[in-house]
Amino acid sequence: MALPARTARTSYDTVVACAPVTVPYTRFSPESAAWWIGRALHGLLAQSGLQIKDLDGFALSSFTAGPDTAIGLTQHLGLTPRWLDHIPLGGASAVVALRRAARAVQAGDADIVACVAADTNHVDSFRKTLSTFSRFAQDAVYPYGSGGPNASFALITKNYMNMFGATREDFGKICVAQRDNALAHPLALMKQKLTLEAYLAARPIADPIHLFDCVMPCAGAEAFLVCREETARSLGLKTVRILSTIERHNAFPEDPVQIRGGWAMDVDDLWGMAGVTPDSIDFVETYDDYPVISMMQFEDLGFCKKGEGPDFVRSHSLTNDGSFPHNTSGGQLSVGQAGAAGGFLGLVEAIRQLTDSALGTPVPQARLGLVSGFGMINYDRGLSSCAAILARSA
């Protein structure tokens, strides 16, 4: 039986993202996830001048809101949405929230969708999240040294180094450039300059992962609105257009160790739908829970071929004033990883860069940005990947 050919994808027309909100991160927080979600929504209303009843769509991502999900939080927070989504995709949450919300707005199922990711970080919540993260983690990963994602990514990193000759210096270059970007970003938790020497001399965490390869778990929230361009204009909000998006889960299960993400399956679709090419992109926000994953994204998103990631990094400068501006706020490696909000960091930063509202160093003449997400180490690899190409509104 032959299935009919896939139909061409519909554009997102005049649906836009706007109102980037960051609730300043803290290393630990005694507050609940609901508190952080509430602050993020408050930030959206403050920036847009909307009232809470105007939010008729709500998409939430949070690891620490339990036992509540998005529905319980509508009552907690006084929302009465006609469109609701809970997106448990960690680092892939933002792009997935964006593309779902955009289609809902486009179809008229909702007019203004608040997309929020927030997590608290109590003194012991990270360990608890790890040990019960998934059934496979409980059965087949956590009992093995309980190194958490550091150990899982150590194996992925080691295998990548074995196969493609990446060195610690290559990963270090990514981390050092991001720290440079972060030094201008007032909300980044990491305030000290990082040198390659300091990166290389850092203590080992799970070989070959060393201290500065790891993100710092923290509490925080990120949010943005999705609505029609005319709605945003009536509110006086600057907007970004959505040229294309992709999403994929559990790609390439046959790869023994993860050397690529689902982007590699959908990359032609990403560029084709947007009608642009990689060399026209002004900045890239990758999901950087570890630098090896950023390197894989350079490859899988079409900036270079598989295995050329190390060379690509060597041949570019990755700071905001460089040849390949990357993770322009400093990324999670330097801003901090506020749980699911870590997945929103790049998208919220991209909206800022494309609306002349960067909190840190602006990328000169940025017109096109690529945001990529990656998430959910269920067993041995990240399952979710996604990406979006965003453009400055005319």
Binding site: F126, R127, L130, S131, R135, F136, Q138, D139, A140, V141, Y142, P143, Y144, G145, S146, G147, G148, N150, A151, A154, L155, I156, K158, N159, N162, R203, P204, I205, A206, D207, P208, I209, P253, P256, V257, Y379, D380
Partner: protein, 414 residues
């Protein structure tokens, strides 16, 4: 190469004893298929009935064909270690005090990718053999071993942690009068136990094998009568904190069933020696055993029950005896749960009729006490929970799994 174990120095009595912590032991119900295999020293993974693919981690639907019948079957444990890491920072208190700890990704020839603990002699890129072990939490874990045996590989700290090797440990054998007790003493001495305490009740009464037993280098005869609470408490008060492995060799075997006997005195004796004896022993020694579960290289590690395989299904020819054995099996299950917080294992060794006087009328095959002793030492070295020793025990186990009702009828036919 693994370094051979070094005899531990005498412990400084002023030093605080490290308290037991456990690795994360919670598992899905399906994953306990691995626990079953590990308890018996087998390597089993799920194999899909529909598409024959081997699956890991444990699932409730086949990811290749969505088949729902995924029994655990013995699988070839060979593979290659494709990536390794050394965890130096762990979120878990148990591993925090044991880092650095090596783990790695093993690609099995059978298909699946397995995250495993790494034996010190494994090398990235090379062949390994996986073994399922019960960790301190009581759950099964994968351990990658070198494909070819290496010198002193048993001394590896990860294996030492997951098994109950008697080397440099202090053992209590509760009854040295029996042939099995004496065989155990010999086997534990040969396995490198540092002291083998052997209990003898009514020491003034001579017994066969006395000279040989007392002549064994590591053996120290101690007064112990499991039918006497005071005797058990006294010994525990003296030596309880020094014992790492307890092997209960007390036996009370008498032919005969239930209604063919007059009165319950024989059955009461059996229960007193076996079930109440086990209780006295566990109550007196259990707390110290559990407390010392993480006390260094030679921590307390195991409580061994020797059980008639007919504890699992009554053999009416020895019916009353079997009932006492069944009581002991049930108590052993309770004991297992009670000792688990200390990371101390309960090994149940099941066996058929022994080559001893009490089974004089029973036709062969019968099990030599020395074979039972060797099997127990071997099971401890592997860290097993259940071992079936000898042809009869194996036969009963298989028949029980196939059709317990058929086994019940057949045993009742004499």
């Amino acid at each position: 190469m693994s370094k051979p174990l070094v005899r531990p120095k005498r412990k400084n009595p002023l030093q605080r004893t490290r308290l037991p912590l456990l690795p994360h032991g919670q598992r899905s119900r399906t994953a306990h298929g691995l626990t079953l295999a590990a308890a018996q020293g087998r390597f089993a993974l799920q194999v899909c009935d529909d598409c024959s693919k081997t699956i890991y981690p444990p699932r409730d639907a086949c990811p290749y064909c969505l088949g729902a019948h995924l029994p655990f079957k013995d699988v070839v444990p060979d593979g290659r270690l494709i990536a390794e890491t050394t965890v130096r920072i762990s979120t878990d208190p148990y591993f925090r005090e044991r880092t650095p700890w090596r783990v790695g990704t093993v690609q099995l020839d059978a298909g699946p990718l397995v995250i495993a603990h790494l034996h010190g002699d494994t090398v990235e890129g090379e062949r390994v053999r996986l073994s399922l072990k019960i960790d301190k939490s009581g759950a099964a874990v994968m351990v990658a071993l070198p494909a070819v045996e290496t010198a002193d590989m048993q001394a590896d700290p990860i294996l030492r942690e997951m098994t109950c090797d008697p080397q440099f440990r202090r053992v209590l054998i509760t009854d040295g009068r029996t042939a099995v007790g004496q065989a155990m003493a010999k086997a534990f001495c040969e396995a490198g136990a540092s002291i083998v305490f052997v209990g003898i009740a009514n020491a003034w009464k001579p017994y066969p094998g006395m000279q040989t037993l007392a002549g064994l280098d590591q053996v120290e005869i101690v007064p112990l009568d499991l039918t006497d609470s005071q005797s058990v408490t006294d010994l525990a008060g003296q030596n309880g904190g020094r014992i790492d492995i307890i092997v209960n060799t007390a036996e009370h075997v008498r032919a005969g069933g239930i209604i063919g006997r007059d009165g319950i005195s024989e059955a009461r004796d059996a229960m007193d020696m076996r079930y109440f004896g086990l209780m006295r022993l566990a109550q007196a020694f259990g707390p110290a055993l559990r407390f010392r579960g993480a006390d260094g290289q030679s921590s307390a590690t195991a409580f061994v029950n020797l059980l008639s395989v007919h504890a699992l299904m009554n053999w009416p020819a020895f019916g009353a005896h079997c009932a006492a054995e069944a009581a002991c099996l049930s108590a052993a299950q309770c004991l297992r749960a009670e000792l688990r917080p200390g990371g101390v294992k309960v090994l149940n060794a099941f066996f058929g009729p022994l080559e001893t006087e009490w089974f004089q009328t029973v036709p062969p095959p019968k099990l030599a006490p020395s074979a039972l002793a060797k099997a127990v030492v071997n099971a401890l070295k592997q860290g097993l929970e259940d071992v079936f020793v000898g042809d009869i025990a194996q036969d009963i186990r298989e028949r029980l799994a196939a059709n317990p009702k058929a086994l019940e009828r057949e045993l009742g036919e004499g």
